[in-house]
Protein backbone atom coordinates (compact mmCIF):
# COMPACT_ATOMS: atom_id res chain seq x y z
CA UNK A 1 0.00 0.00 0.00
CA UNK A 2 1.35 3.41 -0.97
CA UNK A 3 1.83 6.05 1.70
CA UNK A 4 -0.88 8.24 0.22
CA UNK A 5 -3.34 5.35 0.27
CA UNK A 6 -2.77 4.81 3.97
CA UNK A 7 -3.14 8.55 4.58
CA UNK A 8 -6.41 8.60 2.64
CA UNK A 9 -7.63 5.58 4.62
CA UNK A 10 -6.79 7.39 7.87
CA UNK A 11 -8.61 10.51 6.68
CA UNK A 12 -11.65 8.42 5.76
CA UNK A 13 -11.70 7.23 9.38
CA UNK A 14 -11.43 10.87 10.49
CA UNK A 15 -8.13 10.23 12.22
CA UNK A 16 -6.37 13.45 13.12
CA UNK A 17 -2.91 12.00 12.48
CA UNK A 18 -3.85 11.14 8.89
CA UNK A 19 -5.38 14.56 8.31
CA UNK A 20 -2.24 16.27 9.61
CA UNK A 21 -0.06 14.16 7.31
CA UNK A 22 -2.21 14.99 4.31
CA UNK A 23 -2.03 18.67 5.14
CA UNK A 24 1.76 18.59 5.52
CA UNK A 25 2.11 16.72 2.24
CA UNK A 26 -0.02 19.01 0.09
CA UNK A 27 -0.11 22.36 1.88
CA UNK A 28 2.66 23.88 -0.28
CA UNK A 29 1.11 22.76 -3.56
CA UNK A 30 -2.38 23.87 -2.60
CA UNK A 31 -1.23 27.18 -1.20
CA UNK A 32 0.53 27.80 -4.53
CA UNK A 33 -2.81 27.41 -6.30
CA UNK A 34 -4.50 29.73 -3.81
CA UNK A 35 -1.83 32.37 -4.28
CA UNK A 36 -2.05 32.07 -8.05
CA UNK A 37 -5.78 32.80 -7.93
CA UNK A 38 -6.07 35.33 -5.15
CA UNK A 39 -2.88 37.30 -5.60
CA UNK A 40 -2.23 37.92 -1.92
CA UNK A 41 -1.45 35.83 1.14
CA UNK A 42 -4.39 36.93 3.26
CA UNK A 43 -7.02 35.90 0.73
CA UNK A 44 -5.02 32.80 -0.17
CA UNK A 45 -5.04 31.71 3.47
CA UNK A 46 -8.82 32.10 3.63
CA UNK A 47 -9.25 30.02 0.47
CA UNK A 48 -6.75 27.44 1.72
CA UNK A 49 -8.68 27.05 4.96
CA UNK A 50 -12.06 26.62 3.30
CA UNK A 51 -10.56 24.31 0.68
CA UNK A 52 -8.91 21.94 3.15
CA UNK A 53 -12.04 21.75 5.30
CA UNK A 54 -13.97 20.78 2.15
CA UNK A 55 -11.34 18.20 1.24
CA UNK A 56 -11.49 16.53 4.66
CA UNK A 57 -15.27 16.59 4.76
CA UNK A 58 -15.73 15.27 1.25
CA UNK A 59 -12.91 12.77 1.08
CA UNK A 60 -15.49 10.00 1.33
CA UNK A 61 -16.77 11.09 -2.08
CA UNK A 62 -13.37 10.68 -3.70
CA UNK A 63 -13.45 7.84 -6.19
CA UNK A 64 -10.26 5.88 -6.07
CA UNK A 65 -10.17 5.73 -9.89
CA UNK A 66 -8.50 9.09 -10.59
CA UNK A 67 -5.58 11.03 -9.19
CA UNK A 68 -6.09 12.17 -5.62
CA UNK A 69 -3.88 15.18 -6.19
CA UNK A 70 -6.00 16.19 -9.20
CA UNK A 71 -9.15 15.84 -7.11
CA UNK A 72 -7.69 18.05 -4.38
CA UNK A 73 -6.59 20.63 -6.93
CA UNK A 74 -10.10 20.77 -8.40
CA UNK A 75 -11.60 21.39 -4.97
CA UNK A 76 -9.07 24.09 -4.22
CA UNK A 77 -9.62 25.80 -7.59
CA UNK A 78 -13.40 25.71 -7.12
CA UNK A 79 -13.03 27.16 -3.64
CA UNK A 80 -10.83 29.93 -5.00
CA UNK A 81 -13.34 30.66 -7.77
CA UNK A 82 -16.16 30.79 -5.24
CA UNK A 83 -14.13 33.25 -3.29
CA UNK A 84 -13.39 35.44 -6.28
CA UNK A 85 -16.72 35.19 -8.07
CA UNK A 86 -18.48 38.50 -7.92
CA UNK A 87 -15.98 39.70 -5.37
CA UNK A 88 -14.84 42.48 -7.62
CA UNK A 89 -17.44 42.67 -10.31
CA UNK A 90 -16.07 45.89 -11.71
CA UNK A 91 -12.84 44.12 -12.64
CA UNK A 92 -14.49 41.89 -15.19
CA UNK A 93 -15.21 44.62 -17.70
CA UNK A 94 -14.64 44.00 -21.37
CA UNK A 95 -11.44 45.41 -22.85
CA UNK A 96 -12.47 46.34 -26.36
CA UNK A 97 -9.31 48.30 -26.99
CA UNK A 98 -6.96 45.34 -26.55
CA UNK A 99 -5.85 44.05 -29.92
CA UNK A 100 -4.83 40.51 -30.64
CA UNK A 101 -1.47 39.86 -29.13
CA UNK A 102 1.31 38.68 -31.35
CA UNK A 103 4.13 39.96 -29.29
CA UNK A 104 5.49 36.53 -28.58
CA UNK A 105 5.51 35.27 -32.11
CA UNK A 106 9.06 36.32 -32.71
CA UNK A 107 10.27 36.05 -29.20
CA UNK A 108 11.99 33.12 -27.59
CA UNK A 109 11.75 32.87 -23.86
CA UNK A 110 14.08 31.06 -21.60
CA UNK A 111 12.12 28.05 -20.37
CA UNK A 112 14.03 28.05 -17.07
CA UNK A 113 12.44 31.08 -15.50
CA UNK A 114 12.41 31.09 -11.74
CA UNK A 115 8.94 29.84 -10.72
CA UNK A 116 8.80 32.30 -7.83
CA UNK A 117 9.30 35.17 -10.28
CA UNK A 118 6.66 33.71 -12.58
CA UNK A 119 4.28 33.44 -9.66
CA UNK A 120 4.88 37.06 -8.72
CA UNK A 121 4.19 38.14 -12.28
CA UNK A 122 0.84 36.31 -12.25
CA UNK A 123 -0.03 37.64 -8.82
CA UNK A 124 0.53 41.19 -10.02
CA UNK A 125 -2.07 40.84 -12.77
CA UNK A 126 -5.40 42.57 -12.16
CA UNK A 127 -7.89 40.16 -10.61
CA UNK A 128 -10.06 39.78 -13.72
CA UNK A 129 -7.19 38.97 -16.07
CA UNK A 130 -5.56 36.73 -13.51
CA UNK A 131 -8.68 34.67 -12.92
CA UNK A 132 -9.42 34.18 -16.60
CA UNK A 133 -5.79 33.39 -17.42
CA UNK A 134 -5.55 30.84 -14.59
CA UNK A 135 -8.73 29.11 -15.67
CA UNK A 136 -7.80 29.10 -19.34
CA UNK A 137 -4.11 28.26 -19.17
CA UNK A 138 -3.88 26.06 -16.08
CA UNK A 139 -7.30 24.44 -15.76
CA UNK A 140 -8.03 24.18 -19.49
CA UNK A 141 -11.44 25.76 -19.25
CA UNK A 142 -12.99 27.05 -22.48
CA UNK A 143 -14.22 30.62 -22.75
CA UNK A 144 -17.77 29.35 -22.55
CA UNK A 145 -17.06 27.56 -19.29
CA UNK A 146 -15.19 30.53 -17.87
CA UNK A 147 -18.07 32.82 -18.76
CA UNK A 148 -20.54 30.49 -17.06
CA UNK A 149 -18.40 30.10 -13.95
CA UNK A 150 -17.70 33.79 -13.46
CA UNK A 151 -21.03 35.15 -14.65
CA UNK A 152 -19.48 37.18 -17.48
CA UNK A 153 -19.83 37.06 -21.25
CA UNK A 154 -17.56 35.02 -23.52
CA UNK A 155 -16.41 38.28 -25.08
CA UNK A 156 -15.30 39.58 -21.69
CA UNK A 157 -13.47 36.33 -21.03
CA UNK A 158 -11.63 36.61 -24.35
CA UNK A 159 -10.71 40.24 -23.85
CA UNK A 160 -9.51 39.52 -20.31
CA UNK A 161 -7.33 36.70 -21.60
CA UNK A 162 -5.90 38.90 -24.34
CA UNK A 163 -5.15 41.58 -21.80
CA UNK A 164 -3.55 39.07 -19.46
CA UNK A 165 -1.34 37.74 -22.24
CA UNK A 166 -0.31 41.23 -23.19
CA UNK A 167 0.56 42.18 -19.64
CA UNK A 168 2.37 38.91 -19.01
CA UNK A 169 4.38 39.25 -22.22
CA UNK A 170 5.39 42.76 -21.28
CA UNK A 171 6.30 41.68 -17.78
CA UNK A 172 8.35 38.74 -18.99
CA UNK A 173 10.12 40.87 -21.60
CA UNK A 174 10.87 43.49 -19.00
CA UNK A 175 12.12 40.90 -16.62
CA UNK A 176 14.32 39.35 -19.30
CA UNK A 177 15.71 42.72 -20.34
CA UNK A 178 16.67 43.55 -16.76
CA UNK A 179 18.23 40.14 -16.37
CA UNK A 180 20.26 40.50 -19.58
CA UNK A 181 21.33 43.95 -18.52
CA UNK A 182 22.52 42.67 -15.17
CA UNK A 183 24.40 39.84 -16.88
CA UNK A 184 26.08 42.24 -19.29
CA UNK A 185 27.25 44.37 -16.35
Amino acid sequence: MKEIDSIIAACLNEKRSGQHKLYELYAGLMFGICLRYTGNRTDAEDVMQDGFVKIFQNIKHFRQEGSFEGWMKRIMVNTALNFLRHKKKENFIEFTSVHSVNLLENECFDPDFDPHQMMKIIQNLPIGCRTVFNMFAFEDFSHKEIAAQLGITEGTSKSQLARARKLLTEAVSEFKRKNDYQLSI
Binding site: E14, R16, Q19, H20, Y23, A27, G28, L29, F31, G32, L35, R36, R41, A44, E45, D46, M48, Q49, D50, F52, V53, K54, F56, Q57, T79, N82, F83, R85, H86, K87, K88, K89, E90, V101, L104, E107, F109, P111, F113, P115, M118, M119, I122, F133, F136, A137, F138, D140, S142, R165, L168, T169, V172
Partner: protein, 457 residues
Protein backbone atom coordinates in the same frame (compact mmCIF):
# COMPACT_ATOMS: atom_id res chain seq x y z
CA UNK B 1 -10.44 23.86 -31.02
CA UNK B 2 -8.82 25.65 -28.15
CA UNK B 3 -6.22 28.23 -29.10
CA UNK B 4 -2.84 27.84 -27.45
CA UNK B 5 -0.29 30.51 -26.86
CA UNK B 6 3.37 30.44 -26.04
CA UNK B 7 2.97 32.58 -22.96
CA UNK B 8 0.32 30.17 -21.66
CA UNK B 9 2.67 27.24 -22.17
CA UNK B 10 5.54 29.07 -20.56
CA UNK B 11 3.63 29.79 -17.36
CA UNK B 12 1.94 26.42 -17.25
CA UNK B 13 5.28 24.65 -17.55
CA UNK B 14 6.98 26.84 -14.95
CA UNK B 15 4.20 26.64 -12.38
CA UNK B 16 2.76 23.17 -12.98
CA UNK B 17 4.05 21.75 -9.69
CA UNK B 18 4.80 25.00 -7.98
CA UNK B 19 5.02 24.64 -4.23
CA UNK B 20 4.81 27.78 -2.24
CA UNK B 21 6.23 28.26 1.22
CA UNK B 22 3.67 27.09 3.78
CA UNK B 23 1.00 29.46 5.02
CA UNK B 24 1.05 30.68 8.60
CA UNK B 25 0.32 28.25 11.44
CA UNK B 26 -2.98 29.94 12.16
CA UNK B 27 -4.35 28.49 8.91
CA UNK B 28 -3.59 24.98 10.06
CA UNK B 29 -5.05 25.75 13.47
CA UNK B 30 -8.22 27.13 11.92
CA UNK B 31 -8.63 24.12 9.63
CA UNK B 32 -8.34 21.61 12.43
CA UNK B 33 -10.35 23.83 14.75
CA UNK B 34 -13.18 23.87 12.22
CA UNK B 35 -12.99 20.08 11.80
CA UNK B 36 -13.07 19.62 15.58
CA UNK B 37 -16.06 21.93 15.77
CA UNK B 38 -17.95 19.91 13.15
CA UNK B 39 -17.16 16.71 14.99
CA UNK B 40 -18.29 18.22 18.29
CA UNK B 41 -21.47 19.37 16.58
CA UNK B 42 -22.17 15.92 15.21
CA UNK B 43 -21.71 14.31 18.61
CA UNK B 44 -23.70 16.97 20.42
CA UNK B 45 -26.64 16.54 18.11
CA UNK B 46 -26.48 12.76 18.43
CA UNK B 47 -26.40 13.01 22.21
CA UNK B 48 -29.22 15.55 22.17
CA UNK B 49 -31.36 13.30 19.98
CA UNK B 50 -30.57 10.29 22.16
CA UNK B 51 -31.43 12.21 25.32
CA UNK B 52 -34.67 13.41 23.83
CA UNK B 53 -35.71 9.94 22.70
CA UNK B 54 -34.70 8.19 25.93
CA UNK B 55 -36.25 10.99 28.00
CA UNK B 56 -39.51 10.68 26.10
CA UNK B 57 -39.55 6.91 26.56
CA UNK B 58 -38.79 7.26 30.27
CA UNK B 59 -41.52 9.86 30.67
CA UNK B 60 -44.03 7.70 28.83
CA UNK B 61 -43.45 4.63 30.97
CA UNK B 62 -42.67 6.12 34.35
CA UNK B 63 -43.80 9.63 34.79
CA UNK B 64 -46.80 10.67 32.80
CA UNK B 65 -50.21 10.05 34.39
CA UNK B 66 -53.19 8.36 32.76
CA UNK B 67 -54.96 10.28 30.02
CA UNK B 68 -58.10 12.11 30.99
CA UNK B 69 -60.02 10.62 28.12
CA UNK B 70 -63.38 9.43 29.45
CA UNK B 71 -63.35 6.05 27.79
CA UNK B 72 -59.82 5.34 28.88
CA UNK B 73 -60.70 6.47 32.36
CA UNK B 74 -63.60 4.05 32.59
CA UNK B 75 -61.40 1.26 31.38
CA UNK B 76 -58.79 2.17 33.91
CA UNK B 77 -61.36 1.96 36.73
CA UNK B 78 -62.36 -1.52 35.55
CA UNK B 79 -58.76 -2.54 35.40
CA UNK B 80 -58.10 -1.20 38.86
CA UNK B 81 -61.05 -3.17 40.24
CA UNK B 82 -59.78 -6.30 38.63
CA UNK B 83 -56.36 -5.77 40.05
CA UNK B 84 -57.89 -5.39 43.54
CA UNK B 85 -59.94 -8.54 43.04
CA UNK B 86 -56.85 -10.39 42.01
CA UNK B 87 -55.03 -9.31 45.16
CA UNK B 88 -58.00 -10.35 47.29
CA UNK B 89 -58.19 -13.72 45.59
CA UNK B 90 -54.57 -14.30 46.22
CA UNK B 91 -55.12 -13.71 49.95
CA UNK B 92 -58.15 -15.98 50.03
CA UNK B 93 -56.31 -18.72 48.22
CA UNK B 94 -53.61 -18.58 50.83
CA UNK B 95 -56.21 -18.85 53.60
CA UNK B 96 -57.92 -21.86 52.04
CA UNK B 97 -54.60 -23.56 51.55
CA UNK B 98 -53.71 -22.93 55.19
CA UNK B 99 -57.06 -24.26 56.41
CA UNK B 100 -56.57 -27.47 54.42
CA UNK B 101 -53.18 -27.89 55.95
CA UNK B 102 -54.51 -27.35 59.48
CA UNK B 103 -57.35 -29.73 58.83
CA UNK B 104 -54.95 -32.50 57.89
CA UNK B 105 -52.92 -31.94 61.04
CA UNK B 106 -56.09 -31.80 63.10
CA UNK B 107 -57.34 -35.15 61.76
CA UNK B 108 -54.06 -36.80 62.68
CA UNK B 109 -54.25 -35.45 66.21
CA UNK B 110 -57.84 -36.51 66.45
CA UNK B 111 -56.88 -40.08 65.71
CA UNK B 112 -54.31 -39.88 68.46
CA UNK B 113 -57.00 -38.60 70.84
CA UNK B 114 -55.12 -35.38 71.53
CA UNK B 115 -58.11 -33.10 71.80
CA UNK B 116 -56.28 -30.34 73.61
CA UNK B 117 -54.03 -29.93 70.64
CA UNK B 118 -57.01 -29.97 68.31
CA UNK B 119 -58.49 -27.14 70.32
CA UNK B 120 -55.29 -25.15 69.88
CA UNK B 121 -55.35 -25.81 66.17
CA UNK B 122 -58.94 -24.57 66.02
CA UNK B 123 -57.87 -21.38 67.73
CA UNK B 124 -55.13 -20.86 65.15
CA UNK B 125 -57.66 -21.46 62.44
CA UNK B 126 -60.01 -18.84 63.81
CA UNK B 127 -57.24 -16.30 64.39
CA UNK B 128 -56.09 -16.83 60.80
CA UNK B 129 -59.57 -16.17 59.60
CA UNK B 130 -59.79 -13.04 61.76
CA UNK B 131 -56.51 -11.72 60.48
CA UNK B 132 -57.13 -12.45 56.86
CA UNK B 133 -57.77 -9.23 55.06
CA UNK B 134 -60.75 -9.32 52.75
CA UNK B 135 -61.52 -12.89 53.76
CA UNK B 136 -64.91 -14.17 52.82
CA UNK B 137 -67.62 -13.47 55.37
CA UNK B 138 -68.42 -17.13 55.55
CA UNK B 139 -65.06 -17.79 57.06
CA UNK B 140 -65.71 -15.22 59.72
CA UNK B 141 -69.05 -16.75 60.44
CA UNK B 142 -67.21 -19.76 61.74
CA UNK B 143 -66.43 -17.70 64.79
CA UNK B 144 -70.10 -17.49 65.71
CA UNK B 145 -70.99 -20.93 64.64
CA UNK B 146 -73.66 -22.72 66.73
CA UNK B 147 -70.89 -24.25 68.74
CA UNK B 148 -68.91 -21.58 70.54
CA UNK B 149 -65.30 -22.45 71.01
CA UNK B 150 -63.80 -20.87 74.01
CA UNK B 151 -60.18 -19.95 74.10
CA UNK B 152 -60.15 -20.48 77.78
CA UNK B 153 -58.32 -23.61 78.92
CA UNK B 154 -60.91 -24.05 81.69
CA UNK B 155 -63.60 -24.47 79.10
CA UNK B 156 -61.66 -27.31 77.52
CA UNK B 157 -61.22 -29.00 80.86
CA UNK B 158 -64.89 -28.68 81.80
CA UNK B 159 -66.27 -30.27 78.69
CA UNK B 160 -65.97 -33.92 78.00
CA UNK B 161 -63.50 -34.92 75.40
CA UNK B 162 -66.23 -36.43 73.27
CA UNK B 163 -68.27 -33.24 73.23
CA UNK B 164 -65.24 -31.18 72.23
CA UNK B 165 -64.39 -33.62 69.52
CA UNK B 166 -67.86 -33.33 68.11
CA UNK B 167 -67.81 -29.55 68.18
CA UNK B 168 -64.38 -29.35 66.67
CA UNK B 169 -65.33 -31.73 63.97
CA UNK B 170 -68.32 -29.63 63.03
CA UNK B 171 -66.19 -26.51 62.85
CA UNK B 172 -63.62 -28.17 60.71
CA UNK B 173 -66.18 -29.73 58.43
CA UNK B 174 -67.80 -26.39 57.89
CA UNK B 175 -64.49 -24.69 57.25
CA UNK B 176 -63.47 -27.35 54.76
CA UNK B 177 -66.79 -27.03 52.97
CA UNK B 178 -66.29 -23.31 52.74
CA UNK B 179 -62.74 -23.81 51.54
CA UNK B 180 -63.86 -26.19 48.81
CA UNK B 181 -66.47 -23.74 47.63
CA UNK B 182 -63.91 -21.02 47.69
CA UNK B 183 -61.47 -23.05 45.70
CA UNK B 184 -64.02 -23.61 42.95
CA UNK B 185 -64.82 -19.91 42.91
CA UNK B 186 -61.15 -19.09 42.86
CA UNK B 187 -60.48 -21.29 39.88
CA UNK B 188 -63.25 -19.54 38.00
CA UNK B 189 -61.91 -16.15 38.95
CA UNK B 190 -58.38 -17.11 38.02
CA UNK B 191 -59.64 -17.88 34.53
CA UNK B 192 -61.31 -14.51 34.43
CA UNK B 193 -58.13 -12.88 35.60
CA UNK B 194 -56.16 -14.48 32.83
CA UNK B 195 -58.40 -12.73 30.32
CA UNK B 196 -58.27 -9.56 32.43
CA UNK B 197 -54.48 -9.58 32.21
CA UNK B 198 -54.72 -9.58 28.44
CA UNK B 199 -57.22 -6.76 28.58
CA UNK B 200 -55.00 -4.77 30.91
CA UNK B 201 -52.00 -5.09 28.58
CA UNK B 202 -54.02 -4.23 25.50
CA UNK B 203 -55.63 -1.28 27.18
CA UNK B 204 -52.30 0.03 28.44
CA UNK B 205 -50.83 -0.18 24.96
CA UNK B 206 -53.84 1.64 23.52
CA UNK B 207 -53.59 4.36 26.11
CA UNK B 208 -49.94 5.07 25.21
CA UNK B 209 -50.62 5.20 21.47
CA UNK B 210 -53.70 7.38 21.95
CA UNK B 211 -51.58 10.06 23.51
CA UNK B 212 -49.64 10.65 20.28
CA UNK B 213 -50.66 13.02 17.55
CA UNK B 214 -49.22 13.80 14.12
CA UNK B 215 -49.18 17.38 12.90
CA UNK B 216 -48.72 18.65 9.36
CA UNK B 217 -48.94 22.27 8.38
CA UNK B 218 -47.07 25.37 7.50
CA UNK B 219 -46.39 28.89 8.60
CA UNK B 220 -46.32 32.08 6.62
CA UNK B 221 -43.65 34.28 8.14
CA UNK B 222 -43.20 38.02 8.03
CA UNK B 223 -39.51 38.55 8.55
CA UNK B 224 -37.72 41.32 10.32
CA UNK B 225 -33.97 41.57 10.65
CA UNK B 226 -31.68 43.04 13.25
CA UNK B 227 -28.13 44.08 12.38
CA UNK B 228 -25.69 45.17 15.05
CA UNK B 229 -21.96 45.79 15.23
CA UNK B 230 -19.26 47.74 16.98
CA UNK B 231 -19.18 51.49 16.36
CA UNK B 232 -16.42 51.23 13.78
CA UNK B 233 -18.82 49.31 11.50
CA UNK B 234 -21.80 51.64 12.00
CA UNK B 235 -21.54 52.81 8.39
CA UNK B 236 -21.64 49.23 7.10
CA UNK B 237 -24.70 48.50 9.23
CA UNK B 238 -26.46 51.66 8.00
CA UNK B 239 -25.76 50.89 4.34
CA UNK B 240 -27.02 47.35 4.76
CA UNK B 241 -30.12 48.41 6.68
CA UNK B 242 -31.03 50.87 3.93
CA UNK B 243 -30.30 48.49 1.08
CA UNK B 244 -31.72 45.21 2.34
CA UNK B 245 -35.36 44.22 2.72
CA UNK B 246 -36.13 40.88 4.41
CA UNK B 247 -38.20 38.49 2.32
CA UNK B 248 -41.37 36.91 3.74
CA UNK B 249 -41.65 33.20 3.22
CA UNK B 250 -43.65 30.02 3.72
CA UNK B 251 -42.32 27.31 5.96
CA UNK B 252 -43.77 23.76 5.90
CA UNK B 253 -43.80 21.77 9.11
CA UNK B 254 -44.22 18.16 10.17
CA UNK B 255 -44.35 17.17 13.80
CA UNK B 256 -45.28 14.66 16.45
CA UNK B 257 -46.82 15.42 19.81
CA UNK B 258 -47.27 13.52 23.06
CA UNK B 259 -50.17 14.55 25.32
CA UNK B 260 -50.41 14.07 29.05
CA UNK B 261 -53.25 15.55 31.06
CA UNK B 262 -53.55 19.08 29.72
CA UNK B 263 -49.91 19.32 28.70
CA UNK B 264 -47.99 18.23 25.65
CA UNK B 265 -44.45 17.95 24.34
CA UNK B 266 -43.83 18.38 20.66
CA UNK B 267 -41.04 17.94 18.15
CA UNK B 268 -40.65 17.56 14.40
CA UNK B 269 -39.01 19.11 11.39
CA UNK B 270 -39.51 22.52 9.85
CA UNK B 271 -38.04 23.78 6.60
CA UNK B 272 -37.11 27.39 7.20
CA UNK B 273 -35.84 29.97 4.77
CA UNK B 274 -34.31 33.27 5.82
CA UNK B 275 -33.24 35.95 3.43
CA UNK B 276 -33.47 39.43 2.08
CA UNK B 277 -33.55 41.35 -1.14
CA UNK B 278 -30.32 43.29 -1.45
CA UNK B 279 -29.99 46.36 -3.61
CA UNK B 280 -27.07 48.37 -2.34
CA UNK B 281 -25.36 51.28 -3.99
CA UNK B 282 -22.09 52.57 -2.67
CA UNK B 283 -19.49 54.91 -4.04
CA UNK B 284 -15.83 55.66 -3.71
CA UNK B 285 -13.83 58.72 -4.59
CA UNK B 286 -11.07 57.69 -6.99
CA UNK B 287 -8.05 59.37 -8.51
CA UNK B 288 -8.33 59.47 -12.27
CA UNK B 289 -5.12 59.39 -14.24
CA UNK B 290 -6.47 58.33 -17.63
CA UNK B 291 -9.68 60.08 -18.48
CA UNK B 292 -9.13 63.69 -17.38
CA UNK B 293 -10.52 66.00 -19.99
CA UNK B 294 -11.81 69.49 -20.39
CA UNK B 295 -13.09 71.82 -23.11
CA UNK B 296 -12.51 75.42 -23.65
CA UNK B 297 -14.11 77.84 -26.01
CA UNK B 298 -10.99 78.34 -28.01
CA UNK B 299 -12.88 79.25 -31.16
CA UNK B 300 -13.71 82.67 -29.93
CA UNK B 301 -11.57 85.69 -29.31
CA UNK B 302 -12.37 88.44 -26.89
CA UNK B 303 -11.15 91.96 -26.81
CA UNK B 304 -8.89 92.57 -23.85
CA UNK B 305 -10.14 95.80 -22.37
CA UNK B 306 -7.31 96.24 -19.93
CA UNK B 307 -3.85 95.42 -21.22
CA UNK B 308 -3.09 96.28 -23.95
CA UNK B 309 -6.31 98.04 -24.78
CA UNK B 310 -8.01 96.74 -27.89
CA UNK B 311 -5.89 93.56 -28.26
CA UNK B 312 -7.58 90.25 -29.02
CA UNK B 313 -6.92 87.19 -26.88
CA UNK B 314 -8.16 83.65 -26.74
CA UNK B 315 -10.83 83.28 -24.12
CA UNK B 316 -9.10 81.29 -21.47
CA UNK B 317 -12.16 80.51 -19.43
CA UNK B 318 -13.17 76.85 -19.65
CA UNK B 319 -16.69 76.42 -20.80
CA UNK B 320 -16.85 72.78 -19.82
CA UNK B 321 -14.86 71.62 -16.86
CA UNK B 322 -14.36 68.27 -15.29
CA UNK B 323 -12.70 67.36 -12.10
CA UNK B 324 -9.38 66.27 -13.44
CA UNK B 325 -8.15 64.76 -10.22
CA UNK B 326 -11.00 62.80 -8.68
CA UNK B 327 -14.13 61.05 -9.81
CA UNK B 328 -16.81 59.07 -8.05
CA UNK B 329 -16.70 55.31 -8.68
CA UNK B 330 -20.15 53.86 -8.11
CA UNK B 331 -20.92 50.26 -7.17
CA UNK B 332 -24.23 48.50 -7.19
CA UNK B 333 -24.88 45.08 -5.67
CA UNK B 334 -28.16 43.26 -6.24
CA UNK B 335 -29.04 39.83 -5.01
CA UNK B 336 -31.87 37.90 -3.40
CA UNK B 337 -30.12 36.26 -0.48
CA UNK B 338 -31.38 32.97 0.90
CA UNK B 339 -30.22 30.83 3.80
CA UNK B 340 -32.09 27.54 4.05
CA UNK B 341 -32.31 25.66 7.30
CA UNK B 342 -33.90 22.50 8.59
CA UNK B 343 -35.12 23.18 12.10
CA UNK B 344 -35.98 20.73 14.86
CA UNK B 345 -38.27 22.34 17.44
CA UNK B 346 -38.63 21.13 21.03
CA UNK B 347 -41.81 22.56 22.51
CA UNK B 348 -43.73 22.14 25.71
CA UNK B 349 -47.25 23.44 26.00
CA UNK B 350 -50.52 23.53 27.86
CA UNK B 351 -54.05 23.11 26.57
CA UNK B 352 -57.12 25.07 27.70
CA UNK B 353 -60.66 24.02 26.85
CA UNK B 354 -62.67 26.87 25.38
CA UNK B 355 -65.65 24.95 24.11
CA UNK B 356 -65.81 24.11 21.21
CA UNK B 357 -62.14 25.10 20.69
CA UNK B 358 -58.94 24.18 22.45
CA UNK B 359 -56.42 26.92 23.07
CA UNK B 360 -52.81 25.77 23.18
CA UNK B 361 -49.90 27.81 24.47
CA UNK B 362 -46.44 26.45 23.85
CA UNK B 363 -42.85 27.59 24.06
CA UNK B 364 -39.41 26.15 23.51
CA UNK B 365 -36.38 26.22 21.29
CA UNK B 366 -35.61 25.02 17.84
CA UNK B 367 -32.24 23.86 16.58
CA UNK B 368 -31.58 24.99 13.01
CA UNK B 369 -29.07 23.26 10.77
CA UNK B 370 -27.87 25.16 7.70
CA UNK B 371 -28.76 23.27 4.52
CA UNK B 372 -27.96 25.67 1.73
CA UNK B 373 -26.98 29.24 1.18
CA UNK B 374 -27.05 31.46 -1.85
CA UNK B 375 -26.12 34.92 -0.76
CA UNK B 376 -23.81 37.86 -1.04
CA UNK B 377 -23.13 40.23 1.82
CA UNK B 378 -21.51 43.59 1.69
CA UNK B 379 -17.85 43.36 2.69
CA UNK B 380 -16.41 45.63 5.34
CA UNK B 381 -14.81 47.86 2.67
CA UNK B 382 -18.37 48.54 1.34
CA UNK B 383 -17.02 48.30 -2.22
CA UNK B 384 -17.22 44.56 -2.70
CA UNK B 385 -19.35 41.64 -1.63
CA UNK B 386 -18.55 38.34 0.04
CA UNK B 387 -20.04 35.46 -1.88
CA UNK B 388 -21.69 32.90 0.38
CA UNK B 389 -22.99 30.22 -1.93
CA UNK B 390 -21.35 27.44 -0.01
CA UNK B 391 -23.13 26.36 3.15
CA UNK B 392 -19.89 24.88 4.51
CA UNK B 393 -18.25 28.28 4.41
CA UNK B 394 -16.38 29.20 7.55
CA UNK B 395 -18.42 32.42 7.72
CA UNK B 396 -21.51 30.56 8.94
CA UNK B 397 -22.53 29.30 12.32
CA UNK B 398 -23.67 25.91 11.12
CA UNK B 399 -26.14 25.49 13.98
CA UNK B 400 -28.52 28.17 15.03
CA UNK B 401 -30.70 28.21 18.12
CA UNK B 402 -34.07 29.92 17.98
CA UNK B 403 -36.59 30.82 20.64
CA UNK B 404 -40.20 29.93 19.86
CA UNK B 405 -43.51 31.05 21.29
CA UNK B 406 -46.71 29.75 19.79
CA UNK B 407 -50.43 30.14 20.38
CA UNK B 408 -52.75 27.75 18.68
CA UNK B 409 -56.52 27.55 18.36
CA UNK B 410 -57.68 24.03 17.62
CA UNK B 411 -61.01 22.63 16.53
CA UNK B 412 -61.82 18.93 16.52
CA UNK B 413 -63.60 18.08 13.30
CA UNK B 414 -63.87 14.39 14.20
CA UNK B 415 -62.62 12.04 16.87
CA UNK B 416 -59.36 11.59 14.94
CA UNK B 417 -58.89 14.83 13.03
CA UNK B 418 -58.48 18.44 14.09
CA UNK B 419 -57.59 21.69 12.37
CA UNK B 420 -55.67 24.54 13.90
CA UNK B 421 -54.53 28.07 13.29
CA UNK B 422 -51.46 29.26 15.13
CA UNK B 423 -49.79 32.65 15.31
CA UNK B 424 -46.21 32.41 16.51
CA UNK B 425 -43.00 34.34 17.08
CA UNK B 426 -39.53 33.03 16.48
CA UNK B 427 -36.19 34.73 16.78
CA UNK B 428 -32.58 33.72 16.32
CA UNK B 429 -30.70 33.55 19.58
CA UNK B 430 -27.38 34.00 17.77
CA UNK B 431 -26.04 35.57 14.61
CA UNK B 432 -26.02 33.47 11.47
CA UNK B 433 -22.40 34.53 10.89
CA UNK B 434 -19.40 33.84 13.07
CA UNK B 435 -18.17 36.98 14.80
CA UNK B 436 -14.58 36.14 13.95
CA UNK B 437 -15.34 36.25 10.23
CA UNK B 438 -17.94 38.96 9.83
CA UNK B 439 -18.25 41.82 12.31
CA UNK B 440 -21.98 42.46 11.85
CA UNK B 441 -24.34 40.33 13.91
CA UNK B 442 -27.37 39.31 11.86
CA UNK B 443 -30.49 38.01 13.65
CA UNK B 444 -33.88 37.38 12.12
CA UNK B 445 -37.17 37.82 13.93
CA UNK B 446 -40.14 36.02 12.42
CA UNK B 447 -43.81 36.73 12.99
CA UNK B 448 -45.84 33.88 11.62
CA UNK B 449 -49.34 32.62 11.06
CA UNK B 450 -49.63 28.90 10.66
CA UNK B 451 -52.32 26.42 9.89
CA UNK B 452 -52.60 22.69 9.47
CA UNK B 453 -54.09 19.36 10.42
CA UNK B 454 -53.69 17.15 13.48
CA UNK B 455 -54.26 13.43 13.41
CA UNK B 456 -54.89 11.70 16.73
CA UNK B 457 -54.01 8.01 16.94
Amino acid sequence: MKETHKIDELFKKSLADYRSELPSDKVKKKIFGTLAYYQYLKWSLSVLALLFISGSIWAIYNFLPVSSDRETLNNSYAIRDKINTKTQLKNENEIVSKINEIKTVSKKEEKKGNFQKINKISQVLIVSAENAENADAKIFESKNYDVQISRDESFVNAESNESIESKQDKVLTKVVENATEKKAENLKLVDEMASADGLIKKEYKNRIINRFELIAGGNFYFVDKKLSANKEFDNLVKIRENGEVPISNFSPYFGIRYNFNNFFVQSGFQYQKYGEKMDIQTSEMKFNVIDNWFHRDSLYYVKDSINPPGAWHIDTIWYVTHDTTHYLQKYRFQKNNTYKYIEIPFLIGKKFDINPFILEVSTGISVGLLLKSDAEILATDTRSVIVLNNEKSAYFNQVMLNYLFRLSLRYNISRKWSVFISPDVKYNLGSIFKDAYYPVKQNYILYGVGSGLIYKF
